[in-house]
Symmetry: C2
Subunit: 221 residues, 2 copies
């Protein structure tokens, strides 16, 4: 009798997929860094989740730090660009634009994977000056300017208060990002849970009241 080893069609233990690897590694890194934070995250875990060995990580990324930076960049920049594109092409009242922009921002940042990134960046900034610089310029500043442009439109059209403070374009994203983090991370222990939609409506309700020239009561949209 012939032994059963060596089946007729041999399955390779791994495949060469140099084009797919970087994205897969970034996706794995997003999960592991998001769950563990930078310092606790083990590259061994990132590798396992990406379906490769630890050595392979180093074929595509110089170091743990580089991997972290590239992951943040790859995940965040497209969102900001999408927001800018939306505002650039929007036709209509500033109020509606603001409402829709806030909805889209909320839809982006309320997902745990995204909330993890904003939290990560916030907590690791101090250790990665280069990342901090990049994040501040390409995310915070661009986001702030984007929102300010929407507010400016509304002021020009008389929809928003002429005496808006410079803080307005910061307060909104601050409230949104932190609300998203709280929704994600305290979800399990909150006895007075709000749904994501309730939070969104609450944000819009407060902020519109805060900026509109002639606020009216009642539902937002």
């Amino acid at each position: 009798m012939v032994p059963a080893r060596r089946p007729t069609v041999r399955q390779p233990r791994w495949h060469r997929r140099p084009n797919a690897r970087p994205e897969e590694i970034l996706a794995a890194a997003q999960v592991v860094f998001g769950e563990q934070g930078f310092a606790r995250a083990k590259l061994e875990d990132v590798a396992r989740r990406a379906g490769v060995s630890k050595g392979t990580l180093y074929l595509y990324f110089d170091s743990k730090e580089t991997l972290f930076r590239e992951m943040v960049r790859a995940r965040i920049v497209p969102s900001v660009a999408a927001g800018e594109e939306f505002v650039r092409t929007y036709q209509g009242p500033a109020r509606d634009l603001l409402v829709e922009l806030v909805r889209r921002m909320w839809d982006t940042i309320r997902h745990p994977a995204m909330a993890s990134i904003t939290r990560l960046v916030q907590s690791e900034l101090h250790n990665f000056p280069e990342l901090a610089r990049f994040y501040f310029d390409e995310v915070i500043l661009r986001g702030r300017r984007l929102l300010q442009s929407v507010l400016d439109r509304g002021v020009a059209s008389g929809e928003f208060r002429a005496d808006l403070q410079r803080f307005a374009c910061r307060g909104l994203p601050h409230m949104m990002v932190f609300s998203a983090q709280t929704q994600c991370f305290f979800h399990a222990m909150d006895p007075e849970l709000l749904t994501d939609d309730q939070v969104l409506e609450g944000i819009l309700d407060l902020f519109l009241r805060g900026v509109e020239a002639r606020p009216v009561a009642g539902p937002v949209s």
Copy 2:
């Protein structure tokens, strides 16, 4: 000639100060954890800053994790209690109470040492379920209820909108905490810096507009 070594009055190399040590260690831990985050922080550094050796830490705290938890507890709970005491004893319009409470909260959380703690907690929650539970119950929930009670007073007196959303008592602290963190950590690289006072006025301006029944334009106080 007599050699100069061994002066007549010998200074002890160290003193036994069992009552003072814990607080000194907590203070050192606040700085080091605040600067480095939990995982990067070295107990060696905490010990050096506290003026003791590493072994001494273990005379007063079971582990790195315990030290971290105790530090957060010791620094945060008094602030919450102070806010509660202030609201409990306040006589006057709800609007003034709200303004003054926000001022005091801002005065507390805008300091880097405090902003570091809120950031720390946010980023380490996942790794310390016990701390998360404690923080949520003793800080977030208590803070939320405190603010809600102020809002309720205003609604009852007709100063605030009767249709306030449940989100209102969360949005304000979210905006404040995140604004404080941003003020602290991006201070160096922001080309459009606002002063702490400008941020406070901006927060009050937005939020009062958002909650008042008959908002009026103009400066806050």
